[in-house]
C-alpha cells in the first residue's frame, strides 16, 4: 500500500528507517526529488555527515535548499519545533514545505533521548495545521531498538526500502508525549541548593547560579545566558505558583546542570514549544530557555514540576 506524500492543507509526518548511507541517500533522495520538482520550500536539518550525503545528492540544485546542522540547531531537542520548524514554516507561509529533520543520532545521551522522542510526538500537534511534509530519518542499524520502536509511535506513516505504510503503533500524540515524561535521575547528594520565594528573590537566584557556573568553567557569555534561563524558570515559579521554589546546581560529565523544582503545574503540553503571538509581552520564558540551554527536560509529577537545564562546559574544564 502506498500513501501519498501529502494531503492538502495538512501535516505529513513520515519516519524513514535506513541502515546505511545508500538507503539514506535513496530515501532522502526520492523525497527531495519530489520536493524540488514541485518547487516547494525545502529545509534539510540533519546532523554532521548526513548533510554532506544530501548535499551530494542535491548537487547543483542546492541553492533551492536550506541546510541546517541539526547537531547545532537541534543540540537541545526542545528548540527543533520553536527554533527551527515553525520559523521555517512562517517564512514560507502559503507554500507547502518539505522538511528532512533527523533529530536522533548515535551519541545522543539518554537524557536527550526522552526529549527527542517527545518532540517527535509533539510535531504532530504543533504543526497539525501546517501544509508541510516532514521526513525523519532513523538510523536503524546504529540507534538502539527502542528508538525504532518509538519512531513507529510518533510517526503516523513509516517508510523503508520495502515501501511506505501507515504505522499501527501511532496513537494520540499528546498521550505518547506524556509517556516520554519520565522521572529525572536524582541530583547528586552534594549538589548546591538555593530556595527562593517571591519575585524579589530573583536577583539572588541569578547570582547563585551564575557564580557556580563561572566556577565550573562556563564562559562568561554562557554564564549570562544561563542566568537568563534560570531566571525565566524561577520567574515562572514565583509568578505562577503559590509555593516556594528550589534551585539545585551541579556539574556532571562536562555539563553544568540546573534544576528548578516547584509546586506548579504546566498544563499546556506545548508550553515553550510554540511562541505566543508577536503582540504578547509574556509567555516567552520557556521558549527562551529552550533557545539558550543545551538540553531542557521538563518533568510533571504528582507534587509539581521539575525543569532541568544543561549547559555544556568547554571540554576538559569540568569540575568532576
Amino acid at each position: 500500500m502506498t500513501t501519498p506524500d501529502r494531503l492538502e492543507g495538512s501535516l505529513q509526518h513520515v519516519g524513514l528507517l535506513y541502515r546505511d548511507d545508500d538507503e539514506y541517500a535513496e530515501g532522502c533522495g526520492a523525497f527531495l526529488d519530489r520536493a524540488l520538482a514541485v518547487g516547494g520550500p525545502v529545509l534539510v536539518a540533519v546532523p554532521g555527515r548526513g548533510g554532506e550525503v544530501i548535499r551530494a545528492l542535491v548537487g547543483g540544485r542546492s541553492s533551492a535548499v536550506t541546510f541546517v546542522d541539526m547537531a547545532v540547531a537541534g543540540r537541545n531537542p526542545g528548540r527543533i519545533i520553536p527554533g527551527l520548524l515553525l520559523p521555517f514554516l512562517r517564512d514560507h507561509t502559503g507554500h507547502p514545505a518539505w522538511i528532512v529533520a533527523e533529530p536522533l543520532w548515535k551519541g545522543r545521551g539518554d537524557m536527550e533521548y526522552a526529549a527527542c522522542a517527545a518532540q517527535e510526538a509533539l510535531i504532530n500537534v504543533a504543526l497539525a495545521g501546517d501544509e508541510a511534509t516532514v521526513l525523519c530519518p532513523y538510523d536503524a542499524s546504529r540507534l538502539h531498538t527502542q528508538a525504532v520502536v518509538d519512531a513507529h509511535r510518533t510517526h503516523p506513516v513509516m517508510r523503508d526500502t520495502a515501501g511506505t505504510r501507515d504505522s499501527p503503533a501511532y496513537t494520540d500524540p499528546l498521550e505518547t508525549a506524556a509517556a516520554f515524561d519520565v522521572p529525572l535521575p536524582r541530583p547528586p547528594s552534594g549538589a548546591a541548593t538555593c530556595c527562593f520565594d517571591g519575585v524579589r528573590a530573583l536577583p539572588s537566584v541569578r547570582d547563585f547560579a551564575g557564580a557556580r557556573a563561572a566556577e565550573a568553567g562556563l564562559a562568561p557569555l554562557r554564564v549570562s545566558e544561563l542566568a537568563i534561563a534560570v531566571n525565566e524558570l524561577a520567574t515562572n515559579t514565583v509568578e505562577h505558583t503559590r509555593g516556594p521554589g528550589r534551585l539545585t546546581v551541579w556539574t556532571e560529565h562536562d555539563v553544568f546542570v540546573c534544576q528548578i523544582d516547584d509546586t506548579g503545574r504546566i498544563r499546556d503540553p506545548l508550553a515553550g514549544l510554540v511562541p505566543p503571538p508577536d503582540t504578547a509581552t509574556h509567555g516567552r520564558g520557556l521558549v527562551v530557555v529552550h533557545e539558550l540551554a543545551d538540553l531542557v527536560r521538563l518533568h510533571r509529577h504528582a507534587s509539581g514540576t521539575s525543569v532541568r537545564v544543561h549547559f555544556d562546559l568547554p571540554r576538559g574544564r569540568a569540575g568532576d
Partner: protein
C-alpha cells in the same frame, strides 16, 4: 545604618522602602532627612502623623527638624491635610503637585528635591486607593528626570504579600527590612537629554518590570519632540529577562521617531534577537549569533 545607605540614593531614584516596625520606619525617615538636607537638597516628607509628631520623632533621633524647616531645607506635610484632603486619592493631582514641588525646590536654589511619602493610608479603604499601583508606576516618569528622587514607605504588616509584590514592582528598586549595608536600587532609570532617551543601570526583572514599562510608555510624552530617534542606553544594564526585552522591543517599535540602542552587549543582543528585536538599530544580531556559536 539607614543614613549611610540612604546617602547612596541619587537623583532619579524611586525606591520602595518596606519596613516591619516603627523603629525601622523612624530610622529611615531620620536618615532620609539627614542625607537629603546634608547633600544640598530640599526634603519634602508627606507623613501620616501630624507634622508636630514627626518633628518630635526626628528630635528623638537627634535631627532638629524645626531648625531645618525654618531654614527651608525641610517641608513636612500631613497627607490628610494635603493630597488626601478631599477624602480621596487623585493620582494625577499628586503627580502635578510633585512637579510643582520639584520646580519650587529648584527655584529656591536647591540641587533638587528628595521626596518621601508614608503610604500607610493606602491600606485603608480611602477612595482611589485602588489606583495606587498605577500611580506608583506612572510617577516614575516624574522622578526619572534629573532633579528629584523619591522614597515610599510601606508597612509590610499592612498589605498581603502578593499585593506588596505588585506595589514594589512599580518601583525600580525596593529596600527590604533584611537588606544589608551594600544595598543599592536594583535598577536605575534616567532620562537623558543629549542624546534624548533613557539610560538603564542595574537589573530589570519581574520585581521592577512595571516601573520600567510605565517609564518606557511615557517616553513619547516625556522626551523633547526633536523628530530624532530616542536612544536607549543599555551600557550599564547588567540583566534583563525575556518580558523586559519584549518591553524594550515594543518601545522601539512604537516610539514615533523610532529608537536606537546604545551599549548593546552580546547577551542582550542575543536576547533581543531571540525575541524579534534584531531590526532595532544598535542590536548587532550577527554578533549575537557568532558569540554563542
Amino acid at each position: 545604618m539607614d543614613g549611610a545607605l540612604l546617602g547612596r540614593l541619587d537623583l532619579g531614584d524611586h525606591v520602595c522602602r518596606l519596613y516591619r516596625d516603627d523603629e525601622q520606619r523612624l530610622a529611615t525617615v531620620a536618615g532620609f532627612v539627614e542625607a537629603g538636607v546634608g547633600s544640598g537638597h530640599q526634603v519634602a516628607y508627606f507623613s501620616v502623623e501630624r507634622p508636630e509628631t514627626v518633628l518630635e520623632q526626628l528630635g528623638s533621633r537627634g535631627v532638629d527638624g524645626r531648625a531645618l524647616i525654618e531654614r527651608g531645607g525641610l517641608r513636612v506635610t500631613s497627607a490628610q491635610d494635603s493630597y488626601l484632603a478631599s477624602g480621596a486619592f487623585h493620582p494625577e493631582a499628586v503627580m502635578s503637585a510633585w512637579r510643582r514641588a520639584i520646580a519650587d525646590a529648584r527655584d529656591c536654589g536647591y540641587a533638587g528635591l528628595w521626596a518621601m511619602g508614608d503610604m500607610a493610608w493606602a491600606a485603608t479603604k480611602i477612595a482611589g486607593a485602588d489606583r495606587l499601583r498605577w500611580y506608583e508606576a506612572e510617577v516614575n516618569r516624574v522622578f526619572t528626570g534629573e532633579h528629584a528622587l523619591a522614597l515610599c514607605l510601606y508597612d509590610e504588616r499592612s498589605f498581603p504579600a502578593d499585593e506588596l509584590d505588585r506595589i514594589a514592582a512599580a518601583h525600580p528598586g525596593t529596600l527590604e527590612p533584611g537588606d544589608g549595608p551594600g544595598w543599592r536600587p536594583l535598577l536605575r532609570m534616567r532620562r537623558t537629554v543629549d542624546p534624548p532617551g533613557l539610560k538603564l543601570t542595574g537589573e530589570a526583572d519581574a520585581s521592577n518590570r512595571d516601573a520600567l514599562a510605565a517609564t518606557l510608555d511615557g517616553l513619547r510624552d516625556d522626551l523633547p519632540r526633536t523628530g530624532a530617534p530616542a536612544t536607549l542606553d543599555l551600557t550599564d544594564l547588567r540583566f534583563a529577562d525575556a518580558a523586559v526585552a519584549r518591553l524594550l522591543i515594543r518601545a522601539a517599535r512604537t516610539f514615533p521617531a523610532g529608537m536606537r540602542i546604545a551599549g548593546c552587549s552580546p547577551w542582550i543582543a542575543r536576547l533581543l534577537t531571540l525575541l524579534g528585536g534584531d531590526q532595532i538599530p544598535g542590536v548587532d544580531a550577527a554578533e549575537a549569533r557568532e558569540t554563542t556559536a
